[in-house]
Structures are given as C-alpha cells and as structure tokens.
C-alpha cells in the first residue's frame, strides 16, 4: 500500500512539474530591434517598414542616431547585427551598399526580372535589387531580391532620375511666347477665311531648347538635355494645329500668303481662346542609366476674328 501511495505521489509530482513548466515557461526576451522567430524561438532582426530601407540614419546605423537636425552628419557605421557576434561591415562593397534593415548589400539586379515577376510587388516604378548577405565560411554571398522605389543602402548612390529632375529644375523651361497674326490684343481683328500665322516669339533655350544641364550628388553626375518636340496650337474653334518648328514670324511682305510651317484659317467669326502647348522631351543619361522625361507647358491668347461684309449697289 505504501508503495502504491508513493508511486501515486511520484506520478503526481512529475505531472504537476511538467504542467508547471509548460505554463510558467519564461517568455523569450530579445534585444531592441529584434523579435522572436516563431519557428526557432531565437531572436531575429525585426524588420520595420521604411519606405526606402537603407537610407543613412535608418535604425541600426550609428549615423543620425539621437542627434538633432542641426548636428553635423556623422559618418555612417554599418553593422551586421545578425552575425555572432555582431560586427561592423563596410557600408559599400562590390556587392553594393549595406542595407541595415535587411542586413545585406544591395545593388540593382541585372537584368531586371520580368514585369510579371512577383518580386516587383505589383509596381511599375523603381527597380529590383539583389540582396547579398555575407555568409559564414566559404560560400560567399546569398542572394535574394527585393523591390525598392529608390536605391537603398547606407551611402547608396542617388537615384539618377532624381538627379535628372534636379537638372530639369534649373533649366527654367517654360511655354513658348505666342506670336500671331492677327495679333491677339484689343483692337486687332482678323478676318474669316484669311490665313492666320502662328509662331514662337523669340524662341530661346528656355522656350524651345535645346538646353543641357548637369546635376551631381555624392560624386555621381547625370546630364539632361531638353528640346521641344512640337507645339500644339488649340485654336479655340475646335481645331488643333501641330507645329514641329517654332513657326515663321509674319511680315507685311508676305501679304495674304499662308504660313509656310504653322498656320490656320478660321471659318467662323468670334473671339477665340488660343492655347499653345509646347511638348518637351528631356533625355538624360548618367550612372550607367538613361531615360526620358516628358514635360509640357502652355500659354494662351485671345484672338478676335470678324467677317468682311461686301456691299454691292
């Protein structure tokens, strides 16, 4: 009987101990910036959601931490926190620029995956980057790919499209100044059936191009050249005239001749709001990439068209 009771107590103790262990297992505690991996219970880096991971000063880099906006920019320190122990790594290498949040070096994948590849995450802008992870022992780097709107990584080069847009910004591009006969000002009246001449008044590099500007950042340079490809003249009567030249300014010696390259003829009298829209093409190249940026600018004028009355006796 004693043996039975002893056995019972022993079993009870074992069961209670295991139950208590199951219930009272201490929660897994991870250092800041890490979270328990559900599969292993080990701490893994907790990826936050920076729109463009890897910019200097992102969580995990030493640069920009705890400083105010006016503090001088410290040289970023890149840390491979998933290695054991964590170690400092160069912020750039042959494999690209260190992306702290992903713990890998990133550079533009070449060739880019097909547009249908899910790695694009349904996006059409930006680019897909190779993610190179330092590996333990021989084996070099492990590659994954990810999408990013702009080049990620600490000290990563600027987006060449952004540089191109900066170059465009200093070009001071604008619409053509409208030149017309009949002149679009009070007291001037054109006639139905007579030729109308349109041209770009005093075309220069800012209204017709070409104009070339360069933008640089972090030692990278992009050159952009802007040129007008066409001017679409919406004549206010429902008609549109496409002119691929600046047009020819009217002179009295031309008499009743129509414009050789940019003209129109009204068939109805009235006041017509004319809109001249110049279409620019900006071709840029640099950093091993090239592209084109379309732009357009408009100017308007009001032209009055009357009808000649012929009196016969």
């Amino acid at each position: 009987m004693r043996r039975v009771i002893a056995t019972m107590v022993l079993i009870f103790g074992v069961v209670l101990a295991s139950a208590a262990t199951a219930i009272a297992a201490p929660p897994i505690s991870c250092p800041p910036g890490q979270a328990p991996d559900p599969k292993t219970g080990t701490c893994t880096i907790s990826v936050t959601t920076p729109p463009n991971p890897g910019t200097p000063g992102e969580p995990g880099t030493s640069a920009g931490r705890g400083g105010g906006g006016s503090a001088p920019a410290a040289k970023p320190v890149c840390r491979y926190t998933l290695s054991s122990p964590a170690k400092e790594v160069p912020c750039s290498s042959e494999q690209g620029w260190w992306v702290q949040s992903r713990q890998c070096y990133a550079k533009v994948a070449s060739p880019q995956p097909a547009a249908s590849d899910p790695v694009w995450e349904g996006r059409t802008e930006g680019a897909v980057y190779d993610c190179y992870r330092p590996a333990v022992g021989p084996g070099g780097f492990i590659v994954a790919q990810f999408w990013s709107a702009s080049p990620p990584g600490v000290g990563a080069p600027p987006d060449p499209r952004t540089l191109a847009q900066q170059a465009v910004a200093v070009m001071n591009l604008r619409a053509v100044r409208i030149g017309m006969v009949p002149e679009p000002r009070p007291g001037r009246v054109g006639l139905v059936g007579l030729p109308v001449w349109m041209w770009a008044q005093d075309p220069d590099s800012t209204t017709w191009g070409p104009v070339t500007r360069t933008a640089s950042a972090a030692g990278f340079t992009v050159t952009a050249t802007a040129t007008v490809t066409k001017v679409v003249w919406a004549m206010g009567d429902g008609e549109a005239v496409v002119c691929r030249t600046p047009g020819t300014p009217y002179e009295d010696r031309f008499g009743m001749k129509p414009s050789p390259d940019c003209g129109h003829t009204y068939v109805r009298q009235g006041k017509h709001q004319v809109r001249a829209t110049s279409y620019w093409q900006v071709d840029w190249s640099g950093m091993g990439q090239s592209g084109s940026i379309p732009l357009s600018f408009s100017d308007t004028a009001l032209v009055t068209i009357g009808e000649a009355q012929v009196l016969t006796q």
């Binding site: 039975v4 979270a35 559900p38 292993t40 990826v47 713990q103």
Partner: protein
C-alpha cells in the same frame, strides 16, 4: 486492490495532464467576428441537412484574407525547408515589410545553414477590414510539429519556444491577389 489503486492513479494523472494541456491549448473563446458570419452554415447534429450559404464578395474577401495566412506560412515553410529555393518565392505571398522580414530571417537561416524539418499549421484565422483593401488577420500559429536544425542536424530551437502563438497580420488586397504586408512577429498566447 492494488490494480484498483493503479487505475485511480492513472485516471488522476491523466486528468491532471489533460488539465495542464488544456490550459495551454484552449482554443480562443468564440466571440463575434467579422468572418464568423461568412462561414458556411453547417449543422452536424441538427435534424436539417447541411446548408451552404453563398458568400458575398465582401465575405469572400474576408475568407481570402484568412486563407492568405495559411498560404503565407506554407510558402515560408517550404523556403525554410529547402535552402536551394529562391527567396523570391516569398514575393508570391508577401509584400512590403512582411516580405522583407522573412527574406531577412530566412537569409539568416541560410547564412547559418539552418534548415526546417516539419511544417507549421495555422488555426483560427479571423479577418476584419474597414475599407475592403487592408485586412487585419489574427491567427494562431502552431509550430509544435516543426524543428529547425543546423548543418550537423542538431536542433537549434530554444527550449521555451511557444508551441502556439497568436500573431496579427496585415493583408492587402491587390489586383494580383491577397498578400501579407505586415508581420511584426509579436506573438501572444492563443487563448489570450
């Protein structure tokens, strides 16, 4: 007499053991959820035959958001089990932070030559949404049937890894389907 005592001991021990198990495994108490209404109305014990209600598009979206979690873990499991598989496969089920999270975590596995054996399972997924585009999904993840081993085949799973944890995900409805976009790895007990 001795046999009766052993029987009593066994019964008591089992009862205690079951109680202990239940303390951990008790499923979430049923409460009002957005997707509960979307479930097919089935009656196992009632006198009437099983009835299935057609889902509205909104209900179907909730169901799809819940199923996205199951698919998400299936793909993660496969990538963790097969180190030769491209981590790009994760992009078929995840985007944004969730994609970055598991690309990073599984790249860590591969760096350390870890490999998963077995599979996880997802239970009790419940989705809610306010705008029909972003869904918050809570689901219990059961990892009791999986192990992660190093190159030598030794388990690297920590002793106090919870067998079941409830996680909250954000699922996005995109033209290409439903994708997990946020997985913060912040778990809590499934019966919380």
């Amino acid at each position: 007499m001795r046999q009766r005592m052993f029987a009593i001991v066994a019964v008591v021990a089992c009862a205690v053991a079951l109680a202990a198990c239940n303390a951990e495994d008790t499923p979430p108490s049923p409460g009002p959820t957005s997707s509960a209404l979307s479930s097919s109305a089935t009656t196992a014990t009632g006198p009437t035959p099983t009835q299935t209600k057609a889902l509205t598009p909104e209900e179907q979206d909730l169901r799809s958001a819940e199923e996205a979690i199951t698919l998400y873990w299936r793909v993660i499991d496969e990538a963790a089990s097969d180190p030769t598989q491209s981590l790009n496969v994760l992009a078929t089920v995840a985007r944004s932070q969730a994609l970055a999270q598991w690309q990073t975590t599984l790249a860590e596995y591969r760096t350390k030559q870890w490999k998963q054996i077995g599979r996880s399972s997802v239970d009790d997924a419940v989705a809610v949404t306010e705008d029909g585009k972003a869904f918050t999904v809570r689901a219990c993840l059961d990892v009791s049937s999986l192990d992660v081993v190093d190159a030598a085949g030794k388990s690297i799973v920590v002793a106090n890894r919870p067998a079941q944890q409830q996680y909250t995900y954000t699922v996005e409805k995109a033209p290409e389907g439903f994708f997990v976009i946020e997985d913060t790895l912040k778990g809590q007990p499934c019966d919380a």
